[in-house]
């Protein structure tokens, strides 16, 4: 796409004089500083700090008051002290919500002011930025709330889990749910460590094989033009759309013919051939310069040697990425359709059985959720820069 083509529908900005136009273009080139109303930064910061401190004190005070009233109301309900349950709490609630809203707005304002680049980017208005980041902030809070909430409820004692009205954060933090979980797992007739070993085994073997096999295939698909190669890749791209459920039934039949049902291989072998890994690897390898491979060829390296000593070390971000996708996938697999003997079940499967234990296990279920989600999220956080590097080449060319 040429630059001219991309913007051909838009008219030139109208200028009254030639001088104005020249000035505009010079400003674009950065020869003239754009005139902007400059804020006195120091004054602004001091002001911001002062307002934050005031807001903080107000917020703290309101929270303290609300808790006090809440405690009093509880005591009144229990008949410990005289009085009636007051309505004041809702007033304080409104005040608190209002203060938080103002603080968030103001915080965002300051954040944008501080974070914005020295020279403002063209085509961005301050108020537009503010609105967008405000909406984004609210959505981000909404997105993260369930995760925070599951961590918080895994730390609640049983009486707080069934408190009315419920609170988001625990008042008496406890690890009881986790220790209960360990007790329950210790009582199961297959030891807990067995589930862990199963999952770790499946994840390790599956990921290792997947990386090696998929990168071998990706290497030839990306770097050599041979009959059938492009067709095969197109089929793999189509296969990105199949979920495990669509192919699940015939897969079950095929695996039972191959006597693989109720073995680890029923989980591991399909994971070797996961299309997403091949796809990402191939797209990333296409970015490698052909000259690198040609040079090695001229030096007399065999294809296998080129693959191991030249291509593989150069695509490290891609392997990390497919390792991570594969680990996430295999760690979260419950394989309930192909594995049924208790001693071969995966960790997630075993934990889901506990989760399904009904209302008495609410706390434990929350602890399970936290344990299950912690592994993939922390792996992602540790490796996100490599993942993003790989994903930059993930586009589907026509």
């Amino acid at each position: 796409m040429s630059k001219k083509n991309a913007v051909r529908h838009i008219e030139q900005p109208k200028f009254k004089t030639r001088a104005e136009q020249l000035h505009f273009q010079a400003a674009l080139r950065g020869e003239i500083e754009e005139e902007q109303p400059q804020l006195n930064v120091r004054k602004f910061l001091i002001g911001a700090l002062a307002i934050f401190v005031i807001l903080g004190i107000a917020l703290g005070f309101t929270c303290y008051q609300i808790d006090k009233i809440g405690r009093m109301n509880e005591q009144i309900e229990q008949g410990l002290i005289e009085g009636t349950v007051g309505d004041e709490i809702s007033i304080y609630m409104a005040v608190r919500v209002g203060i938080i809203a103002v603080a968030v707005l103001f915080g965002l304002y300051v954040l944008i002011k501080l974070c914005k680049p020295k020279r403002r980017k063209p085509n961005r208005s301050f108020w537009g930025d503010l609105c967008i980041y405000l909406v984004m902030g609210v959505i981000a809070v909404a997105m993260v709330f369930p995760l925070v909430f599951s961590v918080a409820s895994s730390l609640k004692p049983l009486d707080e889990l069934f408190r009315f009205p419920p609170r988001v954060f625990p008042q008496h933090v406890t690890l009881d749910n986790y220790s209960d979980l360990i007790v329950v797992l210790g009582q199961s007739w297959v030891p807990f460590s067995r589930y862990l070993v199963n999952t770790v085994f499946i994840t390790l073997i599956g990921t290792f094989g997947h990386v090696v096999i998929a990168s071998m295939a990706a290497f030839v698909l990306a770097k050599y033009d041979f009959p059938g190669g492009r067709l095969f890749f197109n089929v793999v791209v189509t296969a990105l759309m199949f979920s495990g459920y669509v192919t699940g039934i015939p897969n079950y039949v095929i695996m039972s013919k191959m006597k693989m049902i109720d073995t680890y291989w029923a989980v591991i072998l399909p994971a070797f051939a996961a299309p997403i890994g091949l796809f990402l690897m191939k797209q990333f390898m296409e970015g490698l310069p052909d000259a690198l491979i040609e040079a090695a060829q001229i030096d007399g390296a065999s294809q296998g040697r080129i693959f191991w000593t030249i291509v593989m070390p150069n695509v490290k971000p891609a392997w990390l990425t497919i390792i991570i996708f594969s680990v996430q996938n295999l760690w979260n697999t419950n394989a309930s359709t192909v594995i049924y003997s208790e001693s071969k079940k995966t960790l997630v499967y075993a934990l889901q059985q506990i989760q399904a234990g009904g209302i008495a296990r609410t706390g434990m279920a929350a602890a399970v959720t936290v344990i299950v989600m912690l592994v993939p999220i922390s792996i992602f956080i540790l490796s996100q820069s490599q993942i993003l590097e790989t994903m930059a080449s993930s586009g589907l060319k026509e």
């Binding site: 913007v7 995760l147 909430f149 959720t369 993930s394």
Partner: protein
Amino acid sequence: MKSFFGRYLTMKREKIKYGFHRAWKMRTCYLFLLPYAALFITFFILPIATSIYYSFTYYNILEAPRFVGLQNYINLILQDEVFLTSVKNTFVIAVITGPVGYILSFLFAWFINELPRWLRTIAVVVFYAPSIAGNAFYIFSIIFRADAYGYLNSFLLQFGLIDAPLQWLLDPKYILGVVIVVILWMSMGTGFLSFVAGLQGVDRSMYEAGYVDGIRNRWQELYYITLPSMKPMLLFGAVMSITTAFNVCDVPRALAGYPSTDYAARTIVTHLFDYGFSRFEMGYASAIATVLFLVMILCNKVIQSVLRKVGT
């Protein structure tokens, strides 16, 4: 005329010969491809082929498949009312979560693109975390719990918006809505990552050129510069969002029960799961899988042709 055909055939033959020759010269390539191709064909292509075959048979694993022609498809469309419900639900879910999730993940990726690096990292983690958090959506069954201890109910009760707890996950009126909300929550997946990474790679000088050419605001910039340079990622994201939108199964099963009240949360995939793994009517389940598969490919073709027109 004959000589024309003769020449055509010779040409074809030469072409095939040349193809074989090339393939022989590149034989090591096939060696490299072999392990993956073997596994891929066994676990992805063969299942689809057999699934199409089984869809014309009656098969219950114990007996050999018996050919019944189009009977499965006829039953599916004319007799199985639950299937029609599941098709309706799947389409409602797919039509809402697919495009909305897709557009939202692009918009979010675009908005966070201009943030400073550390803030962007946090934002990426926040938006991406729900889709990799395993079965963290389980927590929604506490939020939407049917009694007054459920968070949403108690919140609404406190503010006097309702006077009795609502049966979020049991009342057919609400189930589908709840499922859609949860799926949207999880929809910032691989496509989102691809967008974030792709936006970082857009050529900066394009924006400056656009500014000189008279682009006035961020939306024009989005349509005329950003989207056209993001096309490959947009296509990839479309494939991923079709996948998630049509393969909804775990969320309704975990939240709304299996089967859900009045089949209000039954999707094509849960229907397939029911017939395949609970009743072992593999032929019938294969017919469902084949239908789903065709719908997904069709959808992908339509979306790709729409995306090709963006920004041109």
